[in-house]
């Protein structure tokens, strides 16, 4: 397990995700302008910025909720620009939600199994007939769900409704569900929202563990600067839809534009938004 401080390891030169010249316009408003962005293979990077900087819009472009007005997004070698969300997800883009969006009336393991949808093969008639192949597939996916739940630290609650789980477990369940997609890239949208400082600190270790053991590249949107600085290997800063800085946490801390735009002004990042 890695230490809390990100070790200065060299970032891979191949990109798990590459977004080039992304621009999003809503009518006359330019929410994101000409943003270049990449997530190196096996890297942990963060996207920060003050409120209204365009972080969420940019996130929605990556997951396919919005089509960019111009620019394109590559996941691995595949161009996913303008693809519907479900096919982007199936190609290896997992995400969690800022305000938890689990399937409340489904059990924890069912929640995870939903995300295996694109990997499972049984069709309508196979499900009805339920031959040995379907039975095996169901059993395997159930076991895999169990394994994922254990990985994120939820034990013995496979059959509990997501609705009834504690807040912390729900956050973990979201990660397990996203991992069931077997993602190349995992997007975490404000994962420490609502966590206390100890939990946030533990979360940093958890992110490293996910990266190391599951081999995914991770993008965080985060307001808690202590988490961002500890966990990230590279930080990108957006302000008013434009990228104003990119670099290691230390560089970002020292960047005057960032301080002007963001850190210096509010000073209460933790509670922002």
């Amino acid at each position: 397990m890695s230490t809390a401080q990100a070790e200065p390891r060299a970032l891979s030169t191949t990109n798990a995700l590459l977004a080039e010249k992304i621009t999003v316009r809503f009518g006359g408003l330019v929410a994101v302008r000409d943003v270049d962005f990449s997530i190196p293979e096996g890297g942990i990077v963060s996207l920060i910025g003050p409120n209204g900087a365009g972080k969420t819009t940019f996130f929605n472009v990556l997951t396919g909720l919005y089509k960019p007005s111009s620019g394109h997004v590559l996941l691995g070698d595949e161009d996913i620009t303008g693809q519907p969300p479900h096919s982007i997800a199936a190609r290896g883009m997992g995400r969690t939600f800022q305000n938890i969006r689990l399937f409340g009336l489904m059990t924890a393991s069912e929640n995870v199994m939903v995300a295996m949808h694109s990997h499972l093969k049984s069709g309508l008639f196979g499900t009805i007939i339920k031959g040995p192949k379907q039975r095996r597939e169901e059993r395997e996916s159930r076991d895999m769900a169990h394994e994922l739940l254990e990985f994120v630290g939820i034990t013995g609650k496979d059959d509990e409704y997501a609705k009834n789980m504690s807040y912390g477990d729900q956050r973990r369940l979201e990660v397990a569900r996203a991992l069931a997609l077997r993602p190349k890239v995992l997007l975490l949208d404000e994962p420490t929202a609502g966590m206390n400082p100890q939990e946030s600190a533990r979360f940093v270790d958890f992110v490293h563990r996910v990266r190391d053991e599951r081999g995914v590249s991770i993008l965080l949107i985060e307001h808690d600067m202590s988490v961002v600085m500890k966990v990230s290997e590279r930080v990108t800063v957006l302000d008013r839809g434009e990228k104003i800085a990119e670099g290691s946490p230390a560089e970002i801390k020292a960047n005057t534009r960032v301080i002007e735009a963001y850190l210096g002004k509010t000073g209460t990042e933790g509670s922002a938004r």
Binding site: H86, F103, G104, S118
Partner: protein, 404 residues
Amino acid sequence: MATPTIDASPSTPSSHVADHTNRRWAIGWIIAAISLWAFYKFALDSLPTQVQDLVKQWLPLTAVNEAIVWVICAVGLNIVVGYAGLLDLGFVAFWAIGGYCAGWFMSNFFYQVNIHFLSAANPDAAGIHINWWLVLIMAGSICAFFGILIGAPTLRLKSDYLAIVTLGFGEIIPQIFTNGEDINGFNLSNGTKGITPLDPISVVPGSAALGPFDLGTKFLLFSLVVAFAVFVSLRIREGRLGRAWLAIREDELAASMMGVPLMRSKLYAYAVGAFMGGLGGVVFAVHVNGVFADRFNFSISIILLAMVVLGGMGNVWGVMIGAISLAWINSTFMPELGETINDQFGTEINFPSYNYLIFGSILVLMMLFRREGLFPETRNRQILHEQERTEVEDLHADLEGSAS
């Protein structure tokens, strides 16, 4: 991702519990159906005449058979409304299409041609005569096709708008049949006169045709169709597609972000639901020995919805009970009650005309006091009735969780 080890095999108890409950219910239904049949076949005639009259008045076999039609359609609607959470106010359209399939393929309506296939009809008769089991499959498939046809352009709509479109669809299809006497010279539906009579049905191809009064055997055959519909519902529910439907019902956006193709999954729900609507249509046509355009009105869609809501959205067994009880109130209880009371007091109240008052009240009362239905699916009971956890309780649970 590591391959799951075999010795871990934590196959969850929940699926076993669900299997168990389902098995219990299924056995219960089979016993109930067979004993009802046996009662009519063997026991009824040996009872005192007064009891016989009472049974024939309050639970005639024809009402039972009609209730079965409702059950089939309600189970189909449950897939669309209960599983996938798509409000459908025009389910009568599939019932009508199914009925007309029976009319077309099981009568001398298309007298220009002469097609016979394993039918119990007179082999010299003109028209299309196909074995009714095959007609069931054909009608189901045609309805599934129409389900996809109506679903493809409309399922992108959000819930309320979708409901309005289905409402329109449920109005259009019966109108087409009502006015389908002369479509550019082609007689599609024989207009308001309807198509009647239909071919007699037989248990298996080649066996003796069932006469119009052999209601008991028909009851058993219809029950088989119900069994098929229930079996399919339960199987799909536990599989990949059922999970996708539930996920869509719970949170559409999150489902799509987890790789569930929304359109395709919803279309499947429509197609499977419509298939069962088609089965119901054929069974109804066989039951009344004809199809009549004026029978397919909007109220059928609403009654079906009331059945699903009353029984408990998503729970097949509850929906069956809801369907049987409302169908019985509709077909037997209200008319007979009216007759009894009118005889007694010399009044002339038209009781059946108050049916919709009752169904409407049931919908309102259910929504006010028991939203999850009489027999909720276990998962619905939780959200619809229990208090949401308060923040303090949440905090408590979190603390406990982190302490352990």
